[in-house]
């Protein structure tokens, strides 16, 4: 190891004038400045996606929103202004950076064909076309306009919808609008369980 005392002092310590105790140059010893990893990152305020306390979080991303900077999450911390969590976060909220930047994320549409044992990649357009065809086929096959007593029911019992716990209100509204318009009765959500 070729580190001299002088170089390591320079590397870590900086500051005003000191006095020489033992003949060595101890000028830079008395104070230290450290930089903060988030000091220039972009702050975006969001809501934690886990429980219903709704902690405010600040997502720190690389870059200042300049056109050529592709934002990358560098840190997530509690929002101190949020009246409920006041900056605090639980062990799940505190690790949100690992949720956003996670190498297990799904990145491509895939399909598993009947009777096969593997996933295949599929283009979005192809997936949309196939799904739409199946939805229409199932709806046309199973749609019931009237029940046994001849009363109007207009329901499609061949399709079910299960929505997730982190769907926004606006998404849930779109789900209700589209699914109920298809006649879907089996419409459920994490809210039930």
């Amino acid at each position: 190891m070729e580190l001299s005392r002088r170089t390591f002092l320079k590397g870590t310590l900086a500051g005003g004038a000191g006095i020489s105790l033992l003949g060595f140059d101890l000028t830079p010893v008395y104070a230290q400045t450290q930089s903060l990893k988030i000091s220039r990152a972009t702050e975006t305020r969001s809501t934690c996606p886990y429980c219903a306390v709704s902690c405010g979080v600040i997502i720190y991303t690389l870059g200042d929103k300049a056109k050529n900077a592709i934002p990358q999450v560098v840190h997530v911390e509690g929002d101190p202004d949020h009246p409920i969590n006041r900056g605090t976060l639980c062990p799940k909220g505190s690790s949100l950076e690992q949720d956003i930047l996670n190498d297990r994320r799904l990145l491509k549409p895939q399909v598993r064909r009947p009777g096969t044992t593997e996933w295949e990649d599929i283009s979005w357009d192809q997936a949309y076309a196939e799904i739409a065809r199946k939805v229409k086929q199932t709806r046309d096959d199973t749609f019931l306009e009237t029940d046994a007593q001849g009363k109007t029911v207009n329901r499609c019992e061949g399709i079910a919808w299960t929505g997730g716990c982190t769907d926004t209100n606006e998404f849930n509204y779109l789900a209700v609008k589209s699914m109920r318009s298809l006649g879907v009765c089996y419409l459920e959500n994490q809210a039930r369980v």
């Binding site: 969001s46 999450v73 399909v111 709806r139 079910a160 849930n172 109920r180 089996y186 459920e188």
Partner: protein
């Protein structure tokens, strides 16, 4: 929550039961700690396990999973016997004084009047108020019993009689002495819940129960109304075959003690996910439409019939007043239909009422999987919902998916539902026989989407986009809208069955294939479709302008609102859900200018009840709202949850959503499937026969499922250990098993086993155990602990064990082969609460052995 997270700091006493907020809502739990630090508030934690919530409690009481109604019923009995009740509140703000019809029978034998044993349902016609006037102080005239107690009144076979209705002018006795007044019936109902009975059922020693009851009810010592107690719960109460009734019992106790509507009080459901409150408000569940409008049924032959059925009419003592806010149902419903179908909803087509499906049976969660297993459902959308993991009876859900034609999953991680076809135990040869086509679409994470979540305290908060979705992942709203519009394109080209709603669903967004959530949020709030003028104030809203609140909604097609409850959230002033005001002048944690809460930014529901009859706060230190005589108006630190100009002398009830205007100790008619008062029933799988009525041990209206996979265990079959399931603070459902940080905190699945049981089995901590139910088995290492103790249940020594739910067959630990790849919900039974249709995930029977 009737109240809110921060409001917990205003309490003097907390009963935390059926929930574990320190572990599942740590940042909300800070407000419980604040109450301890700043008000010396006391905490009672009642739970099968000594949890991390219990670790901070002043009193921890170990209870048998599922026996909560017995405990709470015993509390009601204790409060009444010891006069720890809020007399004026009870008489004036609840239906305690209302008189119930002759012929109504309490369930001494486990059944209320009107039970039909064949159909397993009740004829609820006796569960109603008696018509008449003020019977206060009048002698009770005995009336002959109209039909034998307990016997079912046969339903008329041919012509359907008009459904029983609430009487407009209810009989009442303000002295609460009439033997058929609600208070006397309630007293009689819970007299049976003696400390001895509580001990037999719950396993809580009498002296410990009495200590807890004394501590909790001490806030009403000597009739003092200043102090306030809160009850905090979560799915530990919901997930039972009588879950709704547990919560009802808690609500009754709070009404009895005058704790509802008040700062630091209330009945507070801690919702476990970021937006299941919003999903419920927005009707992501089968039986409602947005804003808790009821789903139409086939008898609703037109909109008028539907509105007549679903719009409640007044039912109250004559001298009292009632707001009956649901009388506005027609305005909410028509505005909703206008939002759904836009110009296609016209007066002539009944505002497109028949575009909506009509339901007359249960389409809830467990039925989805049951009916798919029976081959009725061909295709399933799972958008951020891992149904295989959630269960109950995960194996049944896997087998159900094998029978579907197609499955569309939108997720951010590989999950068990999208990979059901290669679940453990399914060989490559088996896979070749599974003909389900599965599409797995990469959706966007929370940081990649904007829009609003609703927290447990009913706050709508807008969140912002921080980063774009990775790879080819797309926004969920884009995926959903594109699928729907592609289906529409096919109907446009080819026609098909009843295409009208598909063709006419309004997508008036700038880019309908990828709707801006801001545009959707504005539609949800609602706008004027014609110029509107308020005759009282002469204020005019122009056509096209955002509505300032739901009082503006009309039933004539001149307004549009996707969800009346959210009307007021995005007005001409902008998105109130984006507000960030941090001022809280009252110090009560109301934060009027932070985001927006439904309804109309009220932070504590029913807050009129925080005042006495004359409109003065019960506690002058915690002033939420009050009557301002000079202004002739309700004013306050919170928005009054009340008709602003209703003077106290008019005696309008504070519970404005009930047609009675008062809180319901007794729930009349059809609102509850299993009884107007909660009665204690055993879980479907229980170690004992119900000590109250052994011959009617379970909830009589609960139905079991009937496929070959629906199995229920008994003690006789060797299933003699009670098992409960839960989350850990370190993990979030089936999500953080993909997060290396959280996996480091708790790396593997485990089973919590009482030390005494472990000794008996000869196992030590860290050794593997196999837990078996009538459905399947679960293998994980044992966590041997003294935090769960053996209990004496009806005299029998009984053990409880606990299983965290977080691990499946896809995740970091799973993929590294560090788990047995069994799912906690392989164990849980397919049985549901008859009111909320939530499965009984808690308190089922298992056996446990060395693995």
């Amino acid at each position: 929550m009737t109240n809110g997270w921060i409001d917990i700091k205003n309490t003097d006493m907390m009963l935390i039961m059926g929930g574990n907020p320190a572990e599942n809502h740590p940042c909300g739990f800070k407000w419980a700690i604040e109450a301890k630090l700043h008000r010396n508030a006391k905490t009672i934690v009642v739970d099968p396990r000594l949890t991390r919530t219990a670790a901070t409690a002043d009193m921890y009481v170990q209870i048998r999973a599922g026996s909560d109604i017995a405990f709470l019923g015993g509390m009601i009995n204790y409060a009444i016997l010891n006069n720890r009740i809020a007399h004026d509140y009870l008489v004036n703000y609840t239906n305690a004084a209302f008189i119930i019809k002759d012929g109504f029978k309490l369930p001494e034998d486990g059944l209320y009047s009107g039970f039909d044993a064949e159909k397993k349902t009740y004829d609820k016609s006796t569960w109603n108020y008696e018509e008449g006037g003020d019977l206060t102080g009048k002698p009770v005239v005995p009336t002959p019993v109209s039909h034998p107690a307990g016997a079912a009144k046969p339903m008329a076979p041919a012509a359907t009689p008009p459904p029983p209705a609430l009487p407009p002018n209810t009989a009442f006795d303000l002295s609460l002495q009439h033997p058929r007044c609600v208070f006397q019936l309630m007293k009689k109902q819970y007299e049976r819940y003696t400390p001895e009975m509580v001990e037999r059922i719950t396993g809580i020693p009498q002296n410990q129960f009495l200590k807890a009851a004394d501590l909790f009810t001490s806030v009403r010592k000597d009739g003092d109304m200043k102090k306030v107690a809160t009850i905090i719960y979560a799915v530990g109460w919901t997930q039972h075959s009588f879950g709704t009734q547990i919560i009802r019992t808690a609500a009754m106790l709070q009404l009895l003690m005058g704790n509802v509507g008040r700062a630091g009080g209330g009945v507070n459901a801690l919702r476990g996910h970021s937006n299941i409150q919003g999903a419920t408000d927005m009707a992501g569940i089968f039986d409602i439409l947005p804003g808790y409008l009821k789903m139409p049924n086939p008898n609703d032959v037109d909109l008028a019939t539907y509105l007549k059925r679903t719009t409640p009419t007044l039912s109250k003592p004559d001298p009292w007043d009632s707001f009956n806010y649901w009388s506005n149902t027609p305005k909410f419903a028509v505005s909703f239909l206008k939002a759904m179908y836009g110009p296609a909803a016209t007066k002539d087509n009944d505002w497109a009422f028949h575009y909506l499906p009509k339901i007359d049976r249960n389409y809830s969660w467990v039925n989805i999987w049951n009916d798919m297993y029976e081959g009725k459902i061909k295709g399933l959308f799972a958008f951020g919902m891992n149904g295989v993991m959630i269960g109950p009876d995960s194996n049944k859900n896997i087998d159900a998916l094998k029978k579907a034609d197609w499955l569309v999953v939108c997720e951010i991680y590989p999950d068990e539902t999208s990979e059901f076809w290669r679940a453990p135990g399914i060989t490559a040869d088996d896979q070749k026989k599974i003909n389900t086509t599965v599409y797995r679409l990469p959706g966007a994470g929370f940081a990649e989407k904007d829009g609003t979540f609703v927290n447990s305290a009913r706050w709508l908060q807008w969140k912002n986009v921080a980063v774009p979705p990775p790879g080819e992942a797309r926004l969920d709203q884009e995926i959903l809208a594109t699928i729907f519009l592609k289906v529409r394109e096919l109907y446009q080209k080819e026609g098909g069955k009843f295409p009208d709603p598909v063709l006419n669903a309004a997508f008036p967004y700038t880019n309908p294939y990828n709707p801006s959530l801001a545009e959707v949020a504005k539609e949800v709030n609602g706008k004027a479709l014609a110029d509107l003028t308020d005759p009282k104030t002469n204020v005019t809203i122009k056509a096209g302008q955002q509505l300032p609140g739901f009082a503006w909604l009309k039933d004539d097609g001149t307004t549009l609102s996707g969800n009346w409850l959210y009307c007021g959230s995005w007005t001409e002033a902008g998105a109130l859900t984006q507000r960030r005001g941090t001022d809280d002048p009252s110090g009560l944690g109301i934060y009027q200018n932070w985001a927006w809460s439904w309804p109309m930014n009220r932070r504590v529901l029913y807050n009129r009840a925080s005042c006495d009859g004359s409109g003065k706060p019960w506690d002058p230190q915690r002033r939420q709202v009050w009557w301002d005589e000079a202004k002739q108006s309700w004013v306050g630190n919170d928005v009054p949850d009340f008709k602003a100009d209703s003077a106290p002398k008019d005696h309008m009830g504070p519970f404005i959503m009930n047609p009675e205007g008062v809180g319901r100790l007794f729930v009349p008619l059809g609102a509850m499937a299993d009884g107007p008062f909660p009665e204690y029933y055993e879980p479907i799988e229980s170690p004992i026969a119900n000590p109250l009525h052994p011959r009617q041990s379970n909830n009589p209206v609960v139905k079991r499922y009937n496929t070959d996979l629906d199995k229920y265990g008994t003690v006789e079959q060797g299933f003699n250990v009670i098992c409960t399931t839960y989350r850990l603070t370190e993990h979030y459902h089936y999500w953080t098993k993909n997060n290396p940080m959280n996996v480091q905190l708790v790396p593997e699945p485990f089973v919590e086993v009482p030390a005494e049981l472990a000794d008996r089995m000869g196992i030590r901590g860290g050794e593997k155990v196999k837990v078996t139910s009538a459905r399947s088995h679960y293998i994980a290492k044992a966590m041997v602990t003294r935090r769960i103790r053996p209990m004496k249940i009806d005299g029998k020594e009984t053990f409880q064990i606990g299983i965290p739910i977080h691990w499946g067959f896809r995740g970091i630990a799973e993929d590294e082969g560090k788990t047995a790849k069994t799912l906690a919900n392989q164990l849980t039974p397919t049985v549901i609460d008859p009111n909320a249709y939530t499965p009984e995930f808690k308190g089922f029977l298992v056996k446990i052995e060395k693995a």
